[in-house]
Symmetry: D3
Subunit: 170 residues, 6 copies
């Protein structure tokens, strides 16, 4: 059975993430979406919230499981029996960092391979960080995220109204 | 009447910024330079100081107005009636982020277009962050900035003499 | 006598750094490795530790001296009589920032030239920041660093055991 | 009156070209689309055909004129009184060549400025050369080009049926 | 059953190609290596030779079949029932063209997905074109290619001895 | 004695080439400028002409010798005793190809190192191919090339007057 890990922060899950997950789900027998459990200093949502949003957004995909993890990504892959790590590539992503990561992982865990899926044209320019800046500035980002993320953003940003006037820089 | 917005942090204004502003001013009937009013944690100058320096540096250009703003950039553009957002492109700038921003803005505000001007050769390699590192390390950066910025940097860095010995990293 | 400066944070020294140092040492009569003495907020090792590790890692190279500095890099180069600054280029490095730095330095100190050495294939994908993330997550990074760095990382990360569970993000 | 030149080979005109032309037409008082009259060794359509297709594709835009030219682009701009040259930027385009061209033109004709419009998301990945490869291989490219280009491609490739089996390389 | 197509010119097959093929073979149930049957003007080997070399180089992989094709790549994928196209990504490859191709294919054949595998560190810098330049200049390239390719290059270049003195440009 | 090779086509020599040569001459004891003797199908000047123009343009530099060569670059380096190959890097150059070449050479000739000098700001955007296009279109390119090249271009393009009306494409 081919098991793959799709790791990320998913803060929150976007339509681009769901697209990559759906395509990876059709490529592998089982896909584990690993939500990285990191201290939330630069994140908007807690780990539990990010896991819950991802579960909602991928509920229609049968062979997917969402799971938080806090170890090294390749360690988590080993533990769940995943021989493949899935990454979504956007033109706007940092190729060099992707290569550094993939090749460092390959040195440390040669039996785990990195598989890249190119984001489809309509999701190429959805950057999570810009999206949060826009939402915090009061922009309507519902076109970029699943419905559950859109609602969660609205709710979260009401809770922190001081951030509402921040706007996007540059 | 064609109105454009040239947004940025301008911390402080460089010769490259003035060049882009002057060229944009000849392209549009009116140009509003939007100084983004952001909490100054990573900035050297206050919003009021950055507005004042930009006003001095562009005083010779008749159809320019400098204004601080704190909302989403596309909201500010709408409010001032600007149908165009102007960006200066340097080889050393982050194209991917520029594309992400332009295309996200385009989705959220289809009636506002992004216009890019390529920095001229002599301004291509003026990065605001490196420039501040150099000035803080005691370097003479007067060749890269208008006279008002050069004076303001000297004065500001005397006020914070502890920073003078920081130098440039790497 | 041709003297060159190889500046950096070296937090800690990697096999890639040693390779660049060795090649630069064969190109110049004397090579000073400048360890930038910066406040350690984002660094793992103190300046003294970074100097000591670099000295150990380059002990076999006769014409190398390791020295901490806190001034502007071009000022330090002038003070030690270096007419050349050496930089290692990785595919994964930030070319634009390298160009910005080299060309800004060239404007401020025309008599000092920047020399780039391309990292060899086996060191191309060693990024210091990813390496520290991996080590903090419990990964074995001894294949990427000299023995002294590997030992120092183990020791340092025992002292800060809270960081051990952080893992690599994304 | 602000006149701009939008130069290119347009072999044949794509939806991306029409989009850039329409946006430039709203930015300037008059837009001249310059079809470069080059020996057709690497081109599919003659200069006359490319002019005619562009005229059809932009017939709905009032302030546009299509014109062939064979001189240096900046000479043609001067002759028609254009102070601006318009370029469409795709993520997939060659930024470095664009910069080289813009900055060389700027040295040779300082009074003419280059204005870049970023292609909208749906046109970002339309490359003329890939499109022709696909059409020649029998692919349906009508989603990427205006109707007139689609028809012309079908007709042209019937005339050269030997090319139909070429396919896309790589 | 998951079938994938790995298309290319393979002129001749390199160790990097074999590595990508082996990894793709472990990811899919069946892998068809499609050798593009193109007029040999810029190629060193005929289509038949390129197929034979690829067959030799991948003889140890059970679920691989090598086949020439001359139609559009997505047409060939459809004909053989492949739902996936595999591409090897090198840092030195042309990302923009890869994205253009993947996204154009995705528009024309939405049911076929493109999967990218990053070349391993030791194969990152093997460019087929440079390799042929080096071989034609008399360089020993056996470290970059399988034994069958090395032999074929030697034989082929003896047949065309006039090319032997060409060397690598730049 | 440290000997270096600065190889290229130099068709014709530009101010950027002379700048790199002068800086390399101060870095090494002797610099050999290798003019690659390639069939002139894509070149404007013959090998003899290119050697002569380079000799004129670097006549003021004492430790430089200009020499044509037709073998593999690393073979030529070995023959003249050069342990270093010098390359000029422009932002507008093809980094990936530079890396591929340097790392392939390093595999085939480990004892020869590649040294990169970043072009100075004023020479960053001088591309030989664009320059020839501009000259052929009748543009005045004397600001980009040494006097000898400017004269040679004028003379050469008079001989081929048919090319004068070609202009720059795109």
């Amino acid at each position: 059975m081919r098991i793959a890990l799709y790791p990320g922060s998913f803060d929150p899950v976007t339509k681009g993430h769901v697209d990559v997950a759906a395509r990876a789900a059709s490529l592998f027998d089982r896909l584990v979406i690993g939500v990285f459990d990191t201290p939330p200093k630069n994140l908007l949502f807690t780990t539990a919230e990010r896991v819950k949003l991802m579960e909602e957004a991928t509920a229609h995909l049968p062979n997917i499981r969402v799971q938080a993890y806090s170890s090294l990504t390749i360690e988590f892959a080993r533990r769940i029996g995943a021989k493949f790590i899935v990454r979504g590539l956007r033109m706007g992503s940092d190729f060099e960092r992707e290569f550094d990561m993939a090749l460092m992982n390959c040195k440390m865990a040669p039996s785990i391979d990195t598989i890249c899926l190119m984001s489809h044209a309509e999701y190429q320019f959805i950057s999570s960080s810009l999206l949060k800046e826009a939402a915090q500035g009061g922009g309507d980002v519902s076109v970029f995220v699943p419905e559950c993320s859109a609602k969660a953003l609205l709710k979260k940003l009401k809770i922190k109204p001081g951030k509402k006037s921040t706007g996007t820089k540059k």
